[in-house]
Symmetry: C2
Subunit: 314 residues, 2 copies
Amino acid sequence: MTGSSAVYTSGQVTLREVGLRDGLQLVKEWPDTNAKRDWLDAEHQAGVRHFEIGSFLPAKRFPQFADISDVIQHVVDLGAAHSAALTLNERGVEDAIGSGIDEIVCVVSATEDHSQANMRRSRKEALELVRQACAQRDALAPGKIVNVGIAMAFGCTIAGEVLPGDVLQLAEKAFSAGADMVGLADTIGYAGPAQIEALCREMTRVNTDAPLVIHLHDTRGMGIANAAAALDSGVRILDASLGGLGGCPFAPGATGNIVFEDVVFLCERMGFATNIDVEALNKARLIAEQSMPSETFYGNVSRAGVPKNITWAG
Amino acid sequence: MTGSSAVYTSGQVTLREVGLRDGLQLVKEWPDTNAKRDWLDAEHQAGVRHFEIGSFLPAKRFPQFADISDVIQHVVDLGAAHSAALTLNERGVEDAIGSGIDEIVCVVSATEDHSQANMRRSRKEALELVRQACAQRDALAPGKIVNVGIAMAFGCTIAGEVLPGDVLQLAEKAFSAGADMVGLADTIGYAGPAQIEALCREMTRVNTDAPLVIHLHDTRGMGIANAAAALDSGVRILDASLGGLGGCPFAPGATGNIVFEDVVFLCERMGFATNIDVEALNKARLIAEQSMPSETFYGNVSRAGVPKNITWAG
């Protein structure tokens, strides 16, 4: 465990904005660096502090992340903000270690099939990459957090049903490899609240000290119900994206991540203070929408507003 | 209690399709009688058995419900199907009593302000109308069910916060007036799952024998999470509408009822058999969409489909 306990306060809800990473992964147009800065400024102004801002991937194939160094620097300049980025191979890990990023996100797939399709390596090899990332982090950048996301943790487009035992085993291996925290991803919207609750409760037994992240896609409309189930199960770190940005290569036409604005409303209505001004998020939303006019932005709170005279947790 | 226990099987989940009533309340265009028949046929084919199909209101002001007698007759002809319709005044109650409708839905608002705005009568007067409906039912049509929906049960656009105690008291009065069943409506999407759970659990203490309905709007994206919370609290009857049809006069631009297709998926993933073929609902959706081309149809399961190799409750 490095600095994760300081960044993710135990018992307090943390919402990670993943729109600048997961949200931009499949889009055909994306915000330029200035628009990304404006987006970050507006969300920071609204109270958001945790940003997954890109992937360390070849700029030629993923030009939307070519400005990752500038974006990281902007999060540093913002102050009181935490940056995370995805790595999928050795080169990416090296770049991340040498960068100013606070949190390195690695991915391990719950199924062998998806691991090969997504990363062109086995689960064992993906775990080996986690081990390397942790070793390099220990040697060169001990302040950084390593966060391992388990993709397809609730069901897989290729392999179908996923056994919770397999996910728990992978989580244990990720911790053994040196991970500071683990995330469970319902990459393709297979889960209902019952599945979320069952696995999250099991997970807290694997490593009770480490922060547990839930990463939900709203593919089949269960996203907010699943977020509520995760909160009920003790999970306190949730990924979400502004306007629900983020599609899925395995479900064309499906919606993306759970909507950040709606998750804020959910948390507050469940009694968890977010310290986020949900209506102030509309400014960030406007910036994002203007930079991607052909993308669909989802979400209900942004349309309907916050009801009056409501009990707010924060 | 008349026939409600036979129609709403205790312990089993019942989904009430309210699109042909709540969904058509505010639209500028609506399906003609033939399209309504096709819509009903397709949903019945998919396994749906409970339909709220209109309101007994002046045909001049609500031409979308002018064909209510024909639509009721069609549900009768379908067989193994249950029809319900809304009444808001004495004339409507009389018409309903004389019609072939199986279930008469009355409304009482949780707040005095909304009662006046919505029905131009006080809550006391609304309860008096329930009493009249039940008396007429007893005298003239003992087979019919009287279902009282409590509007704004979780918060009111005009009055703001609503006290659970007020809702419980209204429910008790509705039962005293002769109601067979009561519904709690989050008319404007104020509730989060915590509020749903708290009130539903209290409600089951008011009358443990009577079926309890939850009527949710997805105004702020909490709809499916709230449906999950209601199921967790023991509620087994849920209103929903195909494609989430149904706006709200008190929240312009807001989405309508919770999406029927997504609720089916939720129930099945929570282990509640619905006996509804969610993919067969797409045919009904197509019919509804073609008859109302300018309306927005929501829902995620209809886009993404049902995942493969999934555990289905039914």
